[in-house]
Symmetry: C2
Subunit: 341 residues, 2 copies
Amino acid sequence: MRVTIRDVASLAGVSVTTASRALNGEGRMAAETRTRVQDAATTLKYRPNSIAKGLVGGRSFTLGLLTNDTYGRFTLPVAAGLANAVVDRGVSVLLASYQDDPELARINLQSLEDRQVDGLILAGKRIDRAPHAGLLKSGIPTVHVMSACDDDGIGFVPDDDGGARIATQHLLDLGRRRIAHVTGPAAFAAARIRAESYVRTLSDMGAAHWGDPIFGAWSEQHGFDLALQLFDGKPGADAPDAIFCGNDQIARGMIDGLTHLGVGVPDDVAIVGFDNWEIFAAATRPPLTTIDMGLVELGRQAGLCLLDLIDGREVASGLTHTPSRLVIRQSCGALSTDIAV
Amino acid sequence: MRVTIRDVASLAGVSVTTASRALNGEGRMAAETRTRVQDAATTLKYRPNSIAKGLVGGRSFTLGLLTNDTYGRFTLPVAAGLANAVVDRGVSVLLASYQDDPELARINLQSLEDRQVDGLILAGKRIDRAPHAGLLKSGIPTVHVMSACDDDGIGFVPDDDGGARIATQHLLDLGRRRIAHVTGPAAFAAARIRAESYVRTLSDMGAAHWGDPIFGAWSEQHGFDLALQLFDGKPGADAPDAIFCGNDQIARGMIDGLTHLGVGVPDDVAIVGFDNWEIFAAATRPPLTTIDMGLVELGRQAGLCLLDLIDGREVASGLTHTPSRLVIRQSCGALSTDIAV
DNA sequence: CTGAAAGCGCTTACAG
DNA sequence: CTGAAAGCGCTTACAG
């Protein structure tokens, strides 16, 4: 019922061998023969069966994406970028999600191996943890995403350093000089890197940081609490005139807290977030200026890199930081444009 | 290098034919032979190559998940439920996402067909739109999820009616009698169904609804604006004592607006949301009581149903509404427990 | 420049 | 109860 390469070959009046070569652009043959085969394929709407192709080639033309991010806020953009980057190379992505359940992880990985995936993307939630370590015995080419990896591994993570730099720089450019930083737990590398970058950017510009970076939860509550702590009863000159927040949730809580106190955003205090979690960042009052980590692009790069690895091309090991950009909304009082890092 | 069924057969001292049958529990054979083969498989850590299996059986043991939900808030829980429901039947899920781009949709669908997926899950964002209509020419078994489908199609959607009923009932149970409803655009079936259910639940209980359902955007802004509109300057007895909000974003804006006005939640006004978008609902002040649509379970049911369809079992066409449940936090003043619909 | 044959790892009639 | 053979839809040495 489905049209196979035999149908194409017989319509074109050639052998299956020749048809295969013509279709794959291989071997040398009369140009006329090649186009005749291609025309036949077009006429019959022939589509090669990638299962059969996979069986003989020892390749499945599939990639496995194993993730422990239940929520999907980070994983889905990465997955979309990944899948769309490889689809026109004839490669598809198998999704496997375990919810931090080791047994589920084992089953899912097993299933990906049975399916002979050509490569594996291991996606995590933290850039300093390798949640899948020890899971892998097989020699399947692997790329890590949004997580740490061994020294000889290959990984893609957002550029936290660059993102924090443009966020801080943006506040400086707007004339703010008392810039504080409120972020997530110091146990997270992402929090530490962003904080260091904030301090360094200020000192590079000859500015002082306003107090030390304040670590806490990645939550709205943390931002809200700190608004009260930093501003309640303080005269303006003793308080920050800008706050770079470690993620959008903290920024949101901060804005809510400031509003609660009657402190104006952005007039009295400018706020920058991190993540560009759109539906969230756009809904703060005022809408949040924040850093976009470029997750779709990150997925795309990871996918292309994995294909290179599979094809045996040389790929340098180590972590690649994919660029972040500033998305300007209204919480800093600047005009709205994007600034790439 | 990889161990094949030939290795198992030769270790067990039987033919490949017998090995295959023993492993698949088919044909009649000496129990001893069967266990000998199985032992050999275990010893060699044999795993059948599902590509080869697929080629001969004309099945690929894969399902394609095609979604146009870029954001992933709805899709990822569904996808996780789906993948984990079918993984122990040896079936995996291919992810394909097009961002409302018809060309991307075509390419992705093509790729799924080339890969001979046994079935297709078409996931949407609206229960009254069939975004993929016309995309399908092939006769691949298909299940729709979070979207409308033809009369002879098979679909799974959340139980908006039941969810709205338990939300409204919950407010009644807590003694509230002036219950308003603020929701999304009337153009969305989900908004209309929830609104109708709210009205019906109240009238079934002999209660009146407080004004007509108020349609608007699915946004925080809508909730915030309505808080001001409904409560500003109104004496308590003229204002609602409870509001059932059509989604968590509206509920969030509503709470923020009420807080801004100094109206107490839940003391003066109880608030229920819809979606149980956890990271969001848990962060409102106070944390939001809301309806969970059971998306993971929805994905699970859709997956199992699709497997039935593929196996040629009889499946009734039409839409299945998977149950919602109430998640009690603090915005209504009730004790915290879950209530299934 | 082109084709007949073998083979990828399985399953399944068909024989015995 | 068990096995030799054919075949799923391709690709790739090997011959010519």
